[in-house]
Amino acid sequence: MIRTEELHSCNGTLKSRSGQKQTENYTLKNGYHKNEKVQKNGNGFHQPRVRGEDSFEEAPMYVAVLTYMGYGIVILFGYFRDFLRAVGLEKCHQAQEREEQKDFVPLYQDFENFYKRNLYMRVRDNWNRPICSLPGPVFDLMERVSDDYNWTFRLTGRTIENVINMGSYNYLGFAENNVDFLKTVAEKTRQYGVGVCSTRQELGNFSIHEELEQLVADFLGVESAMAFGMGFATNSMNIPALVGKGCLILSDELNHTSLILGARLSGATIRVFKHNNMQSLEKLLKEAICSGQPRTHRSWKKILIMVEGIYSMEGSLVRLPEIIALKKKYKAYLYLDEAHSIGAVGPTGRGVTEHFGVDPKEIDVLMGTFTKSFGATGGYIAGKKELVDYLRCHSHSAVYATAMSPPVVEQIIRAIKCIMGVDGTTEGQRRVRQLAENTRYFRSRLKEMGFIIYGNKDSPVIPLLLYQPGKVGAFSRAMLKRKIGVVVVGFPATTITEARARFCVSAAHTRDMLNKVLQSLDELGDYIRVKFSRHRRPYRPELYNATNFGLDS
């Protein structure tokens, strides 16, 4: 019998939402709880942890109006240029049908390429930049210029060297080519070769794969794990093996493409709940359980809640204790995609489960990728032994995809051993702590400067909002001139008003590099005017640079 006033579960207190006045010290505003605490587990497994708040500050209204004006001007000019191209006054660079086929049904959809032709082409030089070195904290770019306004590029042959890398998902700095660290990788390559030439189920199951999976299971604190060759394919190939027709998937609004693709491929019914909004999720769960499948009203075979650890476009953290409380109350399953958060959050780098003090055995399917924090490729799925054994037989990836290549496997093994400390050094822990320190420093400095930053204060993914389409291009080019490489994203990957630049802080960044980036951001932010935040705090240099906080200094 579920009492409606309060449900105590191991990892959080779930209050009913029936309109009773909340007398506790936290208020509900748009689904965000301020400073709620996580209660200890029964066996005292982890310390209670206070979750910082995700911030999604809105810019003043004039910024939105100017953004629409920007898009309006670009659209008008787009129509004008299309008219010139149609009339023949301007050269058309796009593919066109042959003269004989002009009366046929059109092969190239003109209007669907409007955005690409008239907006994307203008700023296209900010993406797909060729990199000619290791994507570490600094890298080298090949210089390329365009003679016809970004329709074609040519490489000049020169290299732009030592560009600070603020875009690679190199959270723990394992994208390195230090010979000492890579000795074991070289040995294993000599032993196993590079190609596997088979799938896991046939002749591709090497002992090194078994070692990796055992290590991943130990690292995460679960019974068993399975590794796959491609991170995206881990999601898209395994979700169809777990759920099918007659099941319900509740997925967060901002889930990654791989999760959405896997959900669509599975054939289950998909319902979307608002980002990180527990009321929306609970409402969907209640409705689903009460009314069952559409039309037949039979009960659902399975309900799977799909969330991510860190959302890479927003930098926000999942509300894990609340979701676990909900899942226990309504008897649903939880699929947690820790692509960006494994290795990057948590005091010892074990991901969001450690960050929130949650027992990893409570989560049904733990998924993650090795591409971000471990500097390799591939993904894993971990959980109970029955689950993983089932996936070994039924996953599309196990049956059809080639197994992981041995040097990559050894790189992951050495990275995990480094983080766990098994290799006998404290290098891994140093990196995890360095990442946390860099994250906190970078975020607080950006907030002080007055930029609008999204996300949780502990997440190393930092989206900086630029809003206007013109500023997106200007920002990226100006940063490249100052030898800093950033990733910018605009509409339609984000909503129309929220174009942004996304910074990924790394443990390999030194304080000097971050200071150089921050100084450039400061100057550039004033010059192109993106400092829209209304919560500016004064900059206090003595707190960052002092070595002695004693009273007599």
């Binding site: 629409y68 959405i260 509409f491």
Partner: protein, 153 residues
């Protein structure tokens, strides 16, 4: 640029009219048009108001009820290719807030125009016809209707 990839928002065009600040931008846009027309030296105030009404309704008809499809590729294999922007709004759900707003604005503009033209007969006829061209396509009965096959494909 993630055009063509799976995204939980299949067609961003459906949400554009609900975004923050777009209603305000729209009203400011009408105001700007009106001020530009007012600054032409030799036209009288009633003519300016009628021109504002006409140009606004013409632009609304073109952008909301004539142009079909999306200016970017969507991952749903072109379900919205034959739909105008008005039909795409909110995935075809009728009587949402944005639809009501976009129906009421031409009506208010019509009231203002009638007042400022002092209910003159010629202006009345022109403005009413213009209002009808903009109001009739917005009726729910006209969702997906193409009269005489015009603008069908």
């Amino acid at each position: 640029m993630n055009v063509g990839t799976a995204h939980s928002e299949v067609n961003p065009n459906t949400r554009v009219m609900n975004s923050r600040g777009i209603w305000l931008s729209y009203v400011l846009g009408i105001g700007l048009l009106h001020i530009i027309l007012l600054s032409i030296p030799f036209v009288s105030v009633p003519v300016v108001w009628t021109l504002t009404n006409l140009i606004h309704n013409m632009c609304m008809y073109i952008f909301l009820h004539t142009v079909k499809g999306t200016p970017f590729e969507t991952p749903d294999q072109g379900k919205a290719r034959l739909l105008t922007h008005w039909e795409q709004m909110d995935y075809g759900v009728q009587f949402t807030a944005s639809r009501k707003f976009l129906t009421i604005t031409p009506i208010i503009l019509y009231f203002l125009t009638s007042f400022y033209t002092k209910y003159d007969r010629v202006h009345f006829v022109i403005n009413t016809i213009s209002l009808l061209t903009v109001l009739i396509p917005k009726l729910p009965q006209f969702h997906g209707v193409r009269l005489f096959g015009i603008n069908k494909y």
